[in-house]
């Protein structure tokens, strides 16, 4: 398509502006993580006077970052895996079966996206405490409680997206498998899941990211033993001073796994979004 003359200029200007807008905070994060404490406490410098990797060692000493890292990893990983498994079954049901209440379920699932988190934070907290008191299953303050909570956060989107993805897989494929003698579940495991792998991976990343970045429930539902990175990072600020170089180093460290995973698998995510969310 031949463009008018202004389009290439608009492209340079708009994309240049957006690239700078995106880059500056990333640069601030990376460069500050390599500065000695004295530098980040003074006036902002674009170029560090001394480069040091000391903050990357100090972050583990100032706060128990490794414990928080482990908590976040276990909680987000479990939430992602469970939400993917549950979403696969639900999406398969929505995509391949006709049954009473299907539309009601779809609408309910979609509308949970609308709920303000603040609305059910307190009731959920009370329910978790009550379950703990009556059954002995510790949900409040435990990793399990956060895993259950987080997996439901990504579940609606995961079901929605996977159902769209499975819709795009020809029904004839699993029908053929069933003619060959497997049941619907066999067809799901042997045909649909392999064919939907990109969508499943995308949903898994999405769920992991949702859990890794959540702040509100993590700040209310954790105690000192189960604290996640989202809450723990605030501990670099003491009454006396903020260790900004360490805050930036720690932010960088906690970002690397999700950003790397996301960028490596973004093709799948875009493919998943195309099939599911965008129709």
């Amino acid at each position: 398509m031949s463009e008018p003359r202004w389009v290439p200029w608009a492209r340079r200007f708009v994309l240049g502006f957006l690239a700078l807008f995106t880059l500056v905070p990333l640069y601030a994060m990376v460069s500050s993580s390599l500065k000695p404490l004295g530098d980040v406490q003074g006036k902002w410098e674009w170029f560090p006077s001394t480069l040091t990797i000391q903050p990357f060692f100090d972050i583990w000493e100032t706060i128990p970052l490794a414990d928080y890292f482990m908590n976040s990893l276990v909680i987000s990983g479990s939430a992602a895996i469970l939400s993917v498994v549950i979403a696969i079954f639900a999406a398969y049901a929505l995509s391949r079966f006709r049954f009473r209440g299907k539309n009601f379920f779809k609408m309910t699932v979609l509308s949970t996206q609308m709920f303000p988190g603040i609305l059910f934070l307190l009731p959920l907290f009370l329910i978790f405490v009550n379950i703990g008191n009556t059954t002995g299953i510790v949900l409040y303050g435990s990793r399990l409680g956060l895993i259950i909570t987080y997996l439901t956060f990504s579940l609606p989107f995961a079901i929605w997206m996977l159902a769209g993805y499975i819709d795009s897989i020809p029904k004839e494929l699993d029908e053929a498998a069933m003619v060959d003698g497997t049941g619907p579940l066999g067809a799901l495991i042997r045909v649909v899941i392999p064919a939907a792998t990109p969508g499943i991976v995308a949903v898994g990343i999405y769920s992991f990211m949702t859990a890794w970045g959540e702040v509100l429930f993590a700040s209310v539902m954790t105690d000192s033993g189960t604290r996640t990175l989202a809450v723990g990072l605030q501990e670099y600020s003491t009454q006396v001073q903020v260790y900004w170089n360490q805050v930036m180093a720690a932010s960088l460290i906690v970002s690397v796994p999700v950003v790397a995973g996301f960028l490596l698998l973004q093709r799948y995510l875009v493919a998943g979004l195309t099939a599911g969310a965008v129709k």
């Binding site: 995106t22 549950i86 609308m114 009370l126 509100l216 979004l273 195309t274």
Partner: protein, 318 residues
């Protein structure tokens, strides 16, 4: 054709079913529900039951005196609602103030996210050198954990040591006072526009190239093609995108909470922060719940009207 995919009434209509048939039919009917069961149970536990509990709580005087024993809290009827909706009193006034801050925040943030996302996606339709790098770069803010991004911004907004003041050559406060609202908008746009970019880009990939080729043969220029093909083909994508962005932004709690801490300046006190403060700082869960219910009602009404309007237009077009 396997039973599972059959319509249940059709099986019934096939006449007196044999025993074998009944069993197969029953399994076929129960299976989708079994598949949905884990999702239903978890949605019930984490979303629906707490929602109903929240609704019930909004009709009780659930102040700090009744935290230990909830069952003893006196019923309040509609008092909580009357109290927060009485705009002559402080509580109503501050709720209304937060509501308008949230509205302005949402309009600005969603508007800029959509504008940036669409411009970038459309301008990157054509291949050019560095497109892949740029695309990857634009996705980074969305991939970053939200609190890491917001903490970095709060560092940049520091008065004495921050990058923003150094860049602008001024000496302002950004995290208190009037500026705090604008800080909030900037951070939210920085973080969310890549999502709009991602969705619009996915939408653009769904437009068949033949449409552009045919239009080019008919002599349509770049702008005409954008108007006649790109825009209408993106409409359904945009409808979903704007609704999702609206809901996320209006409910946003994380951005102000990480940027300002638990007590946001009143200029940037979004409605979710306002509710959090009423519930967990002044310990009035009845009031907090009533405000949450009002917020949900508002979002429901806006979403329903929006979906009604957009689907009517969609039907009119088709």
């Amino acid at each position: 054709m396997p039973t599972a995919l059959d319509d249940a009434p059709a099986v019934k209509a096939a006449g007196a079913p044999g025993p074998r048939r009944v069993r197969r039919k029953r399994r076929g009917v129960a299976l989708p529900y079994l598949l949905l069961l884990p999702a239903i149970l978890l949605e019930l536990l984490v979303h629906l039951i707490p929602m109903i509990a929240g609704l019930v709580m909004s009709f009780f005087k659930l102040t700090q005196f009744y935290i230990r024993d909830f069952s003893s809290a006196p019923a309040a009827g509609l008092d909580n609602y009357k109290f927060v909706l009485d705009f002559n009193f402080a509580a109503g006034k501050s709720l209304l103030g937060s509501f308008w801050i949230s509205v302005l925040y949402t309009v600005l943030s969603v508007g800029f996210c959509w504008l940036f996302g669409t411009s970038a996606a459309v301008l990157m339709q054509k291949n050019f050198r560095g497109r892949g790098v740029l695309r990857t770069l634009f996705l980074v803010p969305y991939a970053l954990p939200m609190y890491a991004a917001v903490i970095t911004w709060s560092f940049m907004f520091q008065r004495d040591t921050g990058l923003v003041n150094s860049l602008l050559g001024i000496d302002s406060f950004w995290l208190i006072g009037d500026n705090s609202f604008w800080s909030l908008v900037v951070v939210s746009v920085w973080r969310n526009w890549p999502f709009a970019f991602l969705i619009v880009m996915a939408g653009l990939q769904n437009i068949p190239g033949e449409l552009y080729e045919a239009a080019a043969i008919d002599g349509a220029g770049w702008w005409r093609q954008f108007q006649a093909i790109t825009q209408p083909m993106l409409r359904p994508v945009n409808q979903v995108l704007l609704l999702v962005l609206f809901l996320w932004t209006f409910n946003d709690f994380n951005t102000p909470y990480v940027l300002f801490g638990a007590s946001a300046p009143k200029e940037a006190s979004l409605i979710s922060i306002h509710i959090y403060q009423s519930s967990f700082v002044t310990w009035n869960f009845g009031l907090g719940s009533a405000m949450s219910v009002l917020l949900l009602l508002f979002l429901l009404i806006v979403s329903t009207v929006y979906l009604g309007l957009t689907s009517r237009r969609r039907n009119a077009v088709v």
